[in-house]
């Protein structure tokens, strides 16, 4: 049509413009938030002044005045709050890392067991999953803590194998006597892993260019474990172990894991393991039967199907929710405060009661957990990109 209809002229004010309204809403919200923030800040200052509570971070440089039962870095009560918080963070990371490792192991095993064709295996695995994930993690931790409390005294400790003792003082294990060779062993292990990675890459390059398939598993396993073994043998094969021995009321020597640590570790591992098992099961079941049947029809070997068809596809389903399980395991390690494991929250809580500086103590806890969460999720996003489908 020649005469293009102009929009009818009405007396529209700027109030009816969507763009204006959007900006106005956002400005209003921002203003409300700023006012709320100012109001809370004003109140908090007023209240703290009235209660004579100090503010600011200077308390971090004062002596803590309380001791903790275990710490990776040496600590005594005359050292500062800053150091005791650092000790708490390390304890949290310690239990979280070991917990993540064990929960993954347990979860993957149980997840595979749930889809097993063996009736007994799959039923037992589902019993584990259903029982453990339907009971709160708080109860898990307290439950294990009270079981450990019922164990015999160190004098009647259980000895499952030579040199290991279980008692209500925790778990004592023999540990290799320190030797100048051990740093070299670690170095050899890293070198071995590097060598295995290079070998795998070469094998892949060769397969893609010549079509020849070279088994990677056995050669890389022998490189990873063989190299340290050779170094160990060349270094005179030191075999001395430090065994725990009963002296007085408790054991000396070897390494000891405190009852609090064990209770927390078992509690969060068993709980998170059940969730990871469910994730692994759904990952495996997400793979279409046709994929496996097609691979079989192509005459591929079982191990090859697992390695190149099943696992890469299942991982894409498994990794993102598993990452959030790792995060929640780390956050659940804060339950140490319940049973006396000196993790970050426990130490923060004690400092809060000692100094009265609740805002600062809680801010430290939250910031540390936020940065741990952020680190894990950045790492997991990176891994996710690595295993994502590369579409052409």
């Amino acid at each position: 049509m020649a005469e293009q209809a102009h929009p009818p002229k009405t007396n529209r004010s700027i109030l009816h413009s969507i763009a204006f309204r959007n900006i106005a809403y956002q400005l209003l919200l921002a203003a409300a938030l700023i006012f709320l923030g100012w109001y809370l800040y004003y109140n908090i200052n007023e209240n703290l002044d009235r209660q004579n509570i100090a503010t600011g971070w200077s308390f971090l440089n004062e002596p803590a005045g309380f001791d903790i039962s275990e710490s990776i870095i040496p600590f005594d009560s005359s050292q500062t709050f800053a150091r005791i918080f650092a000790a708490g963070v390390l304890n949290t990371l310690h239990v979280a890392f070991v917990g993540i490792f064990l929960a993954t192991l347990l979860g993957v095993t149980m997840g595979i067991a749930r889809v097993s064709r063996n009736w007994l295996v799959s039923r037992l695995a589902s019993a584990y999953v259903e029982i453990c994930r339907n009971v709160p993690v708080v109860l898990h931790v307290i439950f294990w803590s009270s079981i450990i409390r019922l164990l015999p005294h160190p004098r009647q400790a259980l000895e499952p194998f030579n040199g290991a003792f279980i008692s209500n003082r925790g778990l004592m294990l023999p540990f290799p006597v320190d030797n100048a060779l051990y740093p070299w062993l670690a170095f050899a292990l890293i070198l071995g892993i590097g060598g295995a990675l290079i070998f795998a890459r070469w094998a892949r390059y060769r397969r893609e260019h010549t079509g020849q398939y070279i088994s990677v598993f056995w050669p890389s396993t022998s490189i990873i474990f063989g190299l340290p073994l050779v170094v160990w043998a060349l270094g005179g094969a030191p075999l001395a172990w430090d065994y725990p021995e009963l002296k007085g009321f408790n054991y000396q020597g070897g390494i000891s894991l405190s009852p609090e640590y064990i209770a927390l570790l078992i509690g969060i591992t068993v709980y998170t393991g059940a969730f990871i098992a469910e994730i692994v099961r759904s990952g495996i079941e997400s793979i279409h039967r046709g994929q496996i049947e097609a691979s079989r029809a192509l005459g591929l070997r079982h191990s090859f199907i697992m390695r190149y068809i099943t696992i890469p596809q299942a991982l894409r389903v498994i990794v993102p929710p598993t990452a959030s399980q790792y995060l929640s395991l780390t956050k659940n390690s804060s339950l140490g405060v319940l049973i006396g494991y000196p993790d970050l929250v426990n130490i923060g809580n004690t400092s809060l009661n000692q100094t009265g500086q609740a805002v600062e103590a809680i801010a430290i806890m939250m910031l540390v957990y936020l940065s741990i969460s952020l680190t894990i999720s950045i790492f997991m996003n990176f891994y996710n990109k690595l295993v994502a489908i590369r579409e052409r």
Partner: protein
């Protein structure tokens, strides 16, 4: 040519699997499976009888005194539950008024069951039902009317407190979750940024720290003279924490709604809130219902965190009761009893969530 399609294929005959073949397929399908079966049967043979002896044969069931539990060769001491179940289940609530809690629990659980069944998914039924339910339950808990003795919230405890915290978390949390999810999907960058920051910060910290804020810091935020009950503060903290996780689930549901739905709603001239409330949210919430139920289960389990800040839910009440030196050795039995209560509730809800998934699949087919 024979047209295969035209031949009526008979319905498949249900295969009758002989027992021997079932056993072979399920237990001995390969050498590895046979090995596993034998190993597990051996372990079960070793473990089960002693467990059975501990839990059933040698267990002390009756409510005698603790000495019979301590006698040589005694198994599990279930008598501890017979002896202590009142303070475990109902905390510090006045002993003679416990019947009120039992009635309240029965009413509450039946209303939950009604809410969950699909037949009653109608706001005209559910809204009055819940208002009456909450009214009757609070009357029974607080009392003070109709000749019922007044009971302060300080004395609330045990399973009813768990239920109160749980209900509060979900009832306050769901609307916040919907608002946060909508905010995160908003086209306004300011609102979107605020919602994302809030959600991610809350999801990055443990629940304990939020409870610490509710208990220790929140009173400092208020002007002098204004105070809230600690139970309310904790409930609000848990509701916000729950809302941030739930918001992510709802966001997933919102993302599953196709653009056409929004465009059709806009074409009909609906405003933002009308479009969301009448068109988008009913569909989005349906899609992500299984996820929502999963987080509701998590909220129920999370109520046990109040143990750390000293509210007497069922778990803390049990822990407190078990300080009794006479019965202290039998803590495990008491905790198993509490675990069973949590298990029944959470397991039922998770089975329900699986049912919901099946209904949704039926609708899609």
């Amino acid at each position: 040519m024979v047209d295969i399609q035209s031949k009526r294929t008979p319905p498949p005959v249900a295969e009758r699997v002989p027992v021997i073949r079932w056993v072979r397929d399920n237990f001995f399908s390969s050498a590895w499976n046979t090995l596993l079966t034998i190993l597990i049967v051996l372990i079960l043979f070793k473990a089960l009888p002693s467990f059975f002896e501990w839990g059933v044969l040698n267990a002390i069931w009756g409510a005698q005194d603790h000495t019979s539990c301590r006698s040589e060769g005694a198994g599990a001491c279930w008598a501890v539950i017979a002896e202590k179940h009142r303070p475990m289940l109902f905390g510090l609530f006045p002993y003679n008024e416990h019947w009120r809690l039992i009635v309240a629990l029965i009413i509450f659980v039946s209303v939950v069951c009604i809410t969950l069944s699909r037949r009653f998914w109608n706001l005209k039924i559910l809204a009055p039902l819940w208002i009456t339910n909450l009214g009757i339950c609070s009357l029974l808990m607080w009392g003070g009317l109709f000749g019922l003795e007044y009971v302060d919230t300080q004395q609330w405890g045990g399973l009813p407190l768990t239920m109160v915290l749980f209900t509060g978390t979900v009832v306050f949390g769901m609307p916040i979750a919907v608002l946060l999810a909508l905010g995160r999907r908003s086209h306004m960058p300011g609102i979107k940024a605020i919602c994302i920051t809030f959600i991610e910060c809350m999801r990055g910290v443990p629940l304990i720290t939020i409870l610490f804020v509710a208990v220790n810091v929140f009173p400092l935020f208020l002007p002098q003279g204004l105070e809230f009950d600690v139970m309310v503060r904790v409930m609000v903290g848990m509701a916000i924490f729950f809302a941030c996780y739930q918001a992510e689930v709802i966001r997933g549901g919102l993302q599953a709604i196709t653009r056409g739905q929004y465009e059709a709603a806009e074409a009909l001239g609906l405003g933002y809130w009308q479009m969301m409330v009448r068109i988008i949210l009913p569909q989005a919430l349906r899609v992500c219902l299984p996820g929502i139920v999963n987080h509701i289960i998590a909220a129920f389990k999370n109520t046990s965190y109040v143990l750390i800040i000293g509210l007497f839910d069922i778990l803390s009440a049990t822990t407190a009761v078990m300080q009794d030196p006479l019965w202290r050795l039998f803590t495990i039995e008491a905790y198993l009893f509490v675990a069973l209560i949590y298990f029944i509730f959470c397991f039922a809800l998770s089975k329900y969530s699986q049912n919901v998934e099946r209904w949704l699949d039926e609708g899609r087919r």
